[in-house]
Chain length 279, copies 3
């Protein structure tokens, strides 16, 4: 029934909606990703704003079309801002997405991430280690499962799918597990996206960028699982195209923005590799 | 009389003065723009330093050749640092410029921006929405005029000119309204700069970069209206040249730095589109 | 005896060890350098993580393979985090390196830098002004020697060598003085690296990047003087190669990452200009 949302054509429609609406995407993000994600959102056609102060986040999250929360360089004041922003987003009906960067390695951010789940994130995107750790921590384990180390994904995305399903059903969020193939699930349906390029793992903040683009998609597509899958296609197709001519990860970071800017219905329809597996 | 300052030749002279003096430009800026503006200042020939701690800003603002204050990702500690830095700059005679990013949308930063006006900024640069909002807020209105949304300029630059004139006369600052044509006014004279390229609106932090370059110009050109107009020419010409060969906004961001580095008297004299309208 | 460590071949071996081990490099860094240094570490083959919260740095510094401390945009909370992180690194045996950005100009960061020396940094990298100032301040002078201004090096690297020797012997750290020729000393041995390109001085955060790469080298090479010299070769060779085709500093920043990614034994062996002078 909703299978029509998991097609190249539906991705292209989401892209066109972003271009038409230029949704204001509120980002609470880290110092590594701030410039990259602002540029990616602009290149795609959205209107980014980075606003992190406790004094400002509530009203801004309420007026924004989507909120992106990234804990990559979390500090105590930012943690307080995240609590306020996510509560305000929930109250205002602003869809919001969590990027639980390195959540498995560090108890402070683990607490921030788990507590934010009470404010009904529409989506969560991480690598396999991060999703596995977050699911585990949310279930009350004091420690994440072993093998999480920094932001590397030491488990294959496939292995985290079971945990993602539990996390989705418990929180109501759609979960993205990034990897060579991305998995997106709401606990019932499972979509896959096979776009992307291995050199993207050597560019910093592309996971954060994927999350930010998912924020833009959530602003225009109410089915969060579809919105997230569309975002993974958009960054994946742009990344593949960028990698084709990139001389290395520096060039790839630059060309990815050029490609996001030039994405159109034809390109997306031709190159998207999106599918829905279940139910 | 001062018309000679609003010529391509005068812009080239300011550029050469920056290259000769390598002025130390103190930036209190946001996490999106920090890398971009440091690189732009270096490429132009200035010496940037980003210093934001309350413990450090007073002595640094006093020793710097110019101070750039940007509230894009303002926090409470940064607000306190801005109060100290701008007071110290005023006391030391360091010219300083304010970039009131998104001032219309958020009361906390509105208060920071309005209070800083007491410390005699030499210049203020924003888009039409921001200048309109700042003028309105300074005049004691609790709310900015409608239509400000994030960092987008929803009013045409022309519409904000009247407010800019009032703001200039009340504060003593020269006001830059960025847009397809930039307007720069001290409340009496109005200069225009018609350089730039529309793709520049799809690269983050180029407004912040313009403000930072204006800081470098203020360090070597005492007429603040001229200094700001020169900065808008320099970034505009570099942006046009970059856009000519850029494959998209990612490439544009990179080439803009290359072009700033290569700007010289010939190029500036040939390509500057600067004029003074009044009185 | 240890001369074999100061050869092009030894640099290539360090590079290969980094690629094999992908060491987790913990960075407490500034808002200008965060993206650049994360990308450089990824391009080289290391695994960067930027973690600055007081609540997180102790456990992370203990689990990381190296810690990089950069005071470029220091704040009071970050100063507290640095104290904790460096103590934890010392206790855990994690090698750590200090980048005392602009230490001569600002007393607050001077105190942070000098106090951190009690926690046994394995290395310190700065320009001549910074090393001269740090040595001076550590010796109890209230003021650094004159001529430090921002991050510019106003003294030639050679002039700071004497101070570096004293600093090395007093702290046990190997000291890198960056310049046209880099000097690296442990107070007894003096190594030199003559790679690099003058256009690199017009790209922001490349000093910070050198320090971060030294962190990666310290993770795999226990001789800190050798590790630092190897890092200066790696960034210098990549920078030279990047500059050969760069259209300006913007392109140079991008191509430097591409070149770091493609560095291999052949290139390093052919292009490294490393020597040991004494004893």
């Amino acid at each position: 029934m909703s299978h029509i949302l998991f097609t190249p054509d539906a991705v292209a429609t989401t892209l066109e909606r972003i271009r038409a609406a230029t949704p204001l995407v509120h980002n609470i993000t880290n110092i590594v990703a701030a410039n990259s994600t602002a540029n990616a959102l602009l290149a795609l056609g959205a209107s980014p704003a980075m606003v992190s102060a406790e004094e400002e986040v509530e009203s801004f999250a309420a007026m924004a079309a989507a909120l992106v929360v990234n804990i990559g360089t979390i500090t105590a004041p930012q943690a307080a801002a995240i609590a306020r922003a996510t509560r305000a987003a929930q109250a205002a009906g602003t869809p919001w997405i969590l990027d639980p960067v390195a959540v498995g390695a560090l108890p402070f951010r683990a607490r921030v991430a788990v507590e934010s789940l009470a404010h009904a994130p529409r989506a969560i995107r991480g690598n396999a280690s991060e999703i596995l750790a977050l699911a585990h921590l949310r279930e009350g384990h004091a420690e994440p499962p072993p093998a999480g180390r920094g932001v590397d994904s030491l488990q294959a995305a496939e292995q985290a799918l079971h945990a993602a399903g539990r996390l989705a059903r418990a929180t109501g969020a759609s979960i993205v597990i990034s990897g060579a193939t991305d998995y997106i699930t709401d606990g019932t349906r499972i979509a896959t996206v096979a776009n992307g390029h291995t050199m993207m793992t050597r560019v910093t903040a592309l996971g954060c960028t994927a999350t930010a683009l998912a924020g833009a998609c959530l602003a225009v597509e109410p089915d969060a699982t579809a919105a997230c899958a569309h975002a993974m296609v958009l960054i994946g197709v742009a990344g593949e195209r960028a990698a084709r001519h990139a001389a290395g990860p520096g060039s790839l970071q630059v060309r990815l923005l050029d490609e996001l800017y030039h994405l159109d219905r034809d390109t997306v329809t031709r190159e998207a590799r999106i599918a829905i597996l279940a139910p």
